[in-house]
């Protein structure tokens, strides 16, 4: 799978449901905000990743294809 999880940092309110569903890829910092592991989502976690995206109460999580990303970093 060549998709990565991205967080809309402005929308994110630190609900943390994404970290509950996908602890393999998402952990929470001391204030409840997500830290997403770098790299594309492994195939066996794809379904959970989609669920995490759907379940975010504020739609802050999204799956983006790697080719579409233009990072300034």
């Amino acid at each position: 799978m060549d998709e990565v999880l991205e967080v809309d940092r402005i929308r994110c309110d630190g609900h943390g449901i994404c970290a509950e569903l996908l602890p393999e890829l998402i952990t929470l910092d001391d204030w409840g905000y997500p830290i997403v592991k770098r790299g594309s989502v492994p195939d066996h976690l794809a379904e959970l990743a989609r669920r995490a995206v759907d379940d975010c109460p504020v739609l802050a999580l999204r799956l983006a294809s790697i080719t579409a990303i233009t990072r300034k970093r």
Binding site: R11, G14, H15, I17, L21, D55, P57, V58, L59
Partner: protein, 193 residues
């Protein structure tokens, strides 16, 4: 088909829908309050909230269809689709129709949330606080069972749960997102040098 069976189906499905909707509203509040324990993660709350709402639709469908096709009630489809058009208990039944439309709006915007965006979704979702009382009053007004004790007990539990949940929410004070309301640069620190 046995008319009595249809009649019982309508009433039964109606009561079940009310109980389910009560559960949905309470779970919605539990979700917003970000409540969780070591063995009850938050995705269980949101998952049940969604699944109970969708299950309610099934029982509501049974409730409406059996009510309409039941020859005893003399309700046509118009009564079910157009609010306040039924000759039988016009106001109370009409509320039920309104309630279903409110619920459908909430569910549709939720299922298609990426399409509608968070703001519209949120605004429509607040209608839940109108939808539930409408459903409750419809049930009291049109129901033929209100004088049975078991029905009163069920209604009391539903009302009590929602009142308790709302009181809990109101008692919270500042929500976890209160920090957003502070203006940017609120704490002005002198520029260094």
């Amino acid at each position: 088909m046995n008319d009595t069976l249809l009649w019982y189906a309508t009433r039964g499905a109606g009561v079940v829908s009310l109980v389910l909707l009560t559960g949905v509203v309470v779970l919605g509040i539990v979700s917003v309050m970000r409540w969780q324990t070591a063995s009850w993660p938050r995705f269980l709350t949101t998952g049940f909230h969604r699944n109970l709402a969708l299950t309610t639709l099934i029982f509501l469908e049974i409730h409406v269809v059996t009510a309409v096709v039941d020859p005893f009630t003399a309700l046509g489809w118009e009564a079910a689709l157009v609010p306040f058009s039924s000759p039988y208990r016009r106001f109370w039944l009409g509320l039920g129709v309104v309630g279903i439309y409110l619920l459908l709006a909430i569910i549709v915007t939720s299922l298609l949330r990426p399409l509608f965006g968070p703001r519209i979704w949120r605004a429509v979702h607040w209608l839940a606080y109108a939808m539930w009382p409408v459903a409750l009053i419809h049930s009291i007004g049109t129901g033929t069972d209100p004088r049975f004790v078991w029905m009163l007990v069920i209604e009391a539990i539903c009302v009590g749960s929602v009142i308790a949940a709302v009181a809990w929410r109101v008692s919270r004070g500042a929500p976890p997102t209160a920090w957003r309301q502070l203006p940017a640069n609120a704490a002005q620190v002198k520029k260094w040098t």
